[in-house]
């Protein structure tokens, strides 16, 4: 077994390979790590590149693929790519779920029943509180989209990002849990995590600090290189953060994977799971 496969099997490096196909987004959330918005540099990964990395990931011992951004569903080719990725490894794709209407929703039909989960952001059961962070009308779009996806046999997870989960009003969180259950998403598919103080959140003085000591090592591929966490390739004042950069080389994938194991894979499994946001 290679050093990379061993580190993954022992939980010293995350079992999922993350990829950033793009950085642009139709929203402009107040805590966005990547300063995403409609007009930002897109930093695109081509679908062929993503598929090649996924094949390499499986050969190296990774057991899943994660797609994040930016809003990946702004890319017209994403549904087709997800169907192909799902033939290689189980997929989770992060989305704001505001684009799942009309032709974009229809394009998701073939994904039903495949090992694909769409993880959707929903921060509050109160429309105003949710929309304050994520933009006007977001709540209504999300609660409309979730049942549409489930109806098509597509797995849905709900991710809630809170300024401080520990001190958050439990009654409000209960109302949110009632809401996701009523939409058809069980508790096992609901994650609550803190705002990470990087990107736009750092500029706004929000969230908890998150560097190499706080985050689980999870190999993450972007157009700018390979990073040690999906929370690594963040953008602040238009500049890419490099504190969690592993290598500029992303192909062959064994190069950044090996470097990540050298840099962080010596830590005991779980030692860095403090933030619980894998």
């Amino acid at each position: 077994m290679s050093a990379v496969a061993e580190a993954i099997a022992e939980g010293r490096v995350g079992e999922r390979l993350w990829l950033y196909p793009n950085y642009h987004c139709n929203l402009r959330c107040t805590y966005c790590l990547t300063e995403s918005a409609p007009g930002v540099p897109r930093r695109l990964l081509e679908p062929e590149t993503i598929l090649e990395r996924a094949h390499e990931a499986r050969a190296l011992g990774f057991t899943g693929v994660g797609i994040t951004g930016g809003e990946p569903f702004l890319l017209d080719w994403l549904p087709e790519l997800l169907a192909e990725l799902a033939q290689i490894l189980p997929v989770i794709v992060l989305s704001n779920a505001t684009l799942f209407t009309g032709r974009r929703l229809a394009a998701l039909e073939p994904l039903g029943g495949l090992p694909i989960h769409i993880q959707i952001s929903l921060d509050s059961a109160e429309p105003d509180a949710n929309d304050e962070m994520r933009g006007s009308g977001n709540f209504a779009e999300v609660v409309a989209a979730i049942p549409e996806l489930l109806r098509r046999g597509i797995g849905v997870r709900v991710a809630t990002t809170l300024e401080d989960p520990a001190s958050h009003d439990p009654a409000e969180l209960d109302r949110l849990c009632e809401l996701h259950r009523s939409l058809g998403v069980g508790d096992e598919d609901h994650v609550v995590r803190p705002v990470i103080r990087r990107g736009r959140a750092a500029a706004g003085g929000m969230g908890v600090p998150a560097g190499a000591d706080e985050l689980d090592p999870e190999l993450t591929i972007t157009a700018d290189g390979a990073f040690a966490s999906p929370f690594g390739p963040t953008v602040r004042a238009g500049a890419l953060d490099t504190d969690l950069l592993v290598t500029r080389t992303t192909s062959p994938l064994a190069v950044p994977a090996g470097a990540l194991v050298r840099a962080l894979g010596g830590r005991a499994a779980g030692h860095d799971a403090r933030l619980g946001i894998r």
Partner: protein, 186 residues
């Protein structure tokens, strides 16, 4: 501050593999430029440390090669940085000046082994023409085979660094410039 082509990577942004190369209070312009490509930094710095750093060959001898090569390649970063290192390695101000081409090399280096070595450096690094066949034969009178290999690799590695530092317009550190000013070597 690095030159116009590349901004130095600040300590707070140092990538994981680059962090061991960042010392308390800052790092060299060479490291803070290479940190943009951490996997290159990770192998380049140990290579430089092995080839340019302490080894079986005396520090004085190695600095003759490094400073003379850098002067021939007109790399101001390496000339300035290694003028300071050369002083630390026991060379006199007059010898440093001679290696930089500011005073007579013959007068500053009367010993035959050092003159032979400087001639070899000029043959290897002083021109883009091929190194003349047989140019290093006399070296073997004073240096063993492993020493010839090490000194030639040192000269060639210095050429690589000279071209890198000159192309990226890396500036010598303030501490180096202060030292050279005090010695009248700026």
């Amino acid at each position: 501050m690095a030159g116009v082509l590349v901004t130095p990577v600040e300590p707070a942004q140092a990538p994981l593999l680059a962090r061991p190369h960042y010392r308390e209070g800052g790092t060299s312009p060479l490291v803070s430029s290479l940190a943009h490509v951490p996997e290159a930094l990770e192998v380049t710095m140990p290579f430089i440390a092995t080839v340019l750093g302490p080894s079986a060959i005396a520090a004085r001898t190695k600095e003759l090669v490094i400073l003379r090569t850098s002067a021939r390649l007109e790399c101001s970063y390496c000339v300035q940085t290694h003028s300071s290192v050369a002083l630390d390695s026991g060379l006199s101000v007059a010898e440093v000046r001679a290696l930089r081409g500011e005073e007579s090399l013959e007068e500053a280096f009367p010993a035959e082994d050092e003159r032979m070595l400087l001639g070899w450096v000029d043959a290897v690094a002083g021109t883009v023409d091929p190194v003349p066949a047989g140019a290093g034969v006399e070296l073997r009178e004073h240096f063993s085979e492993p020493e010839v290999v090490e000194l030639t690799l040192l000269c060639a590695a210095t050429v690589m660094l000279n071209r890198y530092c000159t192309a990226l317009e890396l500036p010598a550190s303030p501490a180096t410039l202060q030292r050279l000013a005090a010695e009248g070597l700026l």
